[in-house]
Symmetry: C2
Subunit: 195 residues, 2 copies
């Protein structure tokens, strides 16, 4: 998605430890018009799969996922990182290990929000090691529902997540694929640059 | 806002301790079409104040705030409850006490995202004791920016937050005002029901 690649090239920043900082348009500050275009793109890519729900993980996944759900006219379900006081009923739960923070966290979704008839489109802002996406896939599996695809705003194609998910037969669409952040330079994956 | 009141009446649930659970359309599961209408309503209410940024607090504020920012064509800034690894620069910070969880949390916003020229519209999902809103007002004050208004999806009008904010001269617009949750029954504030 050219508008996204241009935004990453212009405003993305590589900080210590090879972390890509996109604070100015994707998570800490959010560009709503860009999110709208991202939502339209995911909706176009996955509409044929007839998703009944969009699932994301709080909190940076919410903006692109909300715009996607809006375009598809289906509800958005937000997996929680800690169980809120109001979440009183039974839940699906999965463990997500963060390599960056070196800690395991549980994600939870109320059982009342997903069932065996759902066709779930998973949306997230980043794909690196794939642990968050795998946690959401596990939640959908527990519900007996189907994962119809995974939409990622920025994939770090030099990490294992994309391969891991695709090797399980999951369809992953990434709007920007980063080939390398070595030496503090953002290099995109060629097929995306030409696409 | 009639569509919102109807949704609260139909799907809201009063759980133990007088907590209003709106998990099915506002936070855990989100209704994107309703969020769009909420965003349009806030934009109509505050457009005349010429806001330059919308500010909210992760994570349940993000959906209504994103749609508001989209309508106003301004960036959304998301105050963080814990400082992410990528937030490397200087920050504005404020303490927010939660009466529900009985704990104090810090909220942070990168200094690069707000400055003295900004006119900030604060959006949040709930207003009860007003502590989260006051924390955001404090962040805006530290930036030397102006708060042009506060838009709230659901105000618990039987708690102190609304009075506290309005007594400081802040313009607060609440799309639904709950007068009481006593005996597990949701009662709306009359002026809203008639409005």
């Amino acid at each position: 998605m050219r508008a996204l690649l241009e935004k990453i090239a212009a405003e993305g920043e590589v900080v210590a430890g090879g972390v890509l900082k996109v604070d100015r348009f994707l998570n800490h500050q959010v560009d709503p018009r860009l999110m709208k275009r991202i939502g339209e793109e995911f909706a176009n890519q996955f509409r044929g799969e007839r998703p009944t729900k969009v699932l994301t993980l709080e909190s940076s996944g919410i903006s692109p996922a909300l715009m996607t759900a809006y375009e598809l006219a289906v509800p958005l379900v937000v997996a929680r990182k800690r169980r809120p006081l109001t979440m009183t009923g039974e839940v699906y739960r999965a463990e997500v290990y963060s390599f960056t923070k070196q800690e395991a966290n549980e994600i939870v979704v109320s059982r009342s929000l997903l069932d065996g008839f759902d066709r779930v489109l998973i949306i997230d802002d980043f794909l690196a090691n794939g642990q968050a996406a795998l946690g959401m896939v596990e939640v959908v599996r527990q519900a007996g529902a189907a994962v119809v695809g995974i939409g990622i705003v920025i994939e770090k194609a030099f990490q294992d997540g994309g391969r891991l998910l695709r090797s399980r037969g999951l369809r992953v669409v990434s709007l920007a694929r980063i080939a390398s952040l070595a030496d503090g330079v953002i290099r995109f994956h060629e097929e995306v640059m030409n696409g």
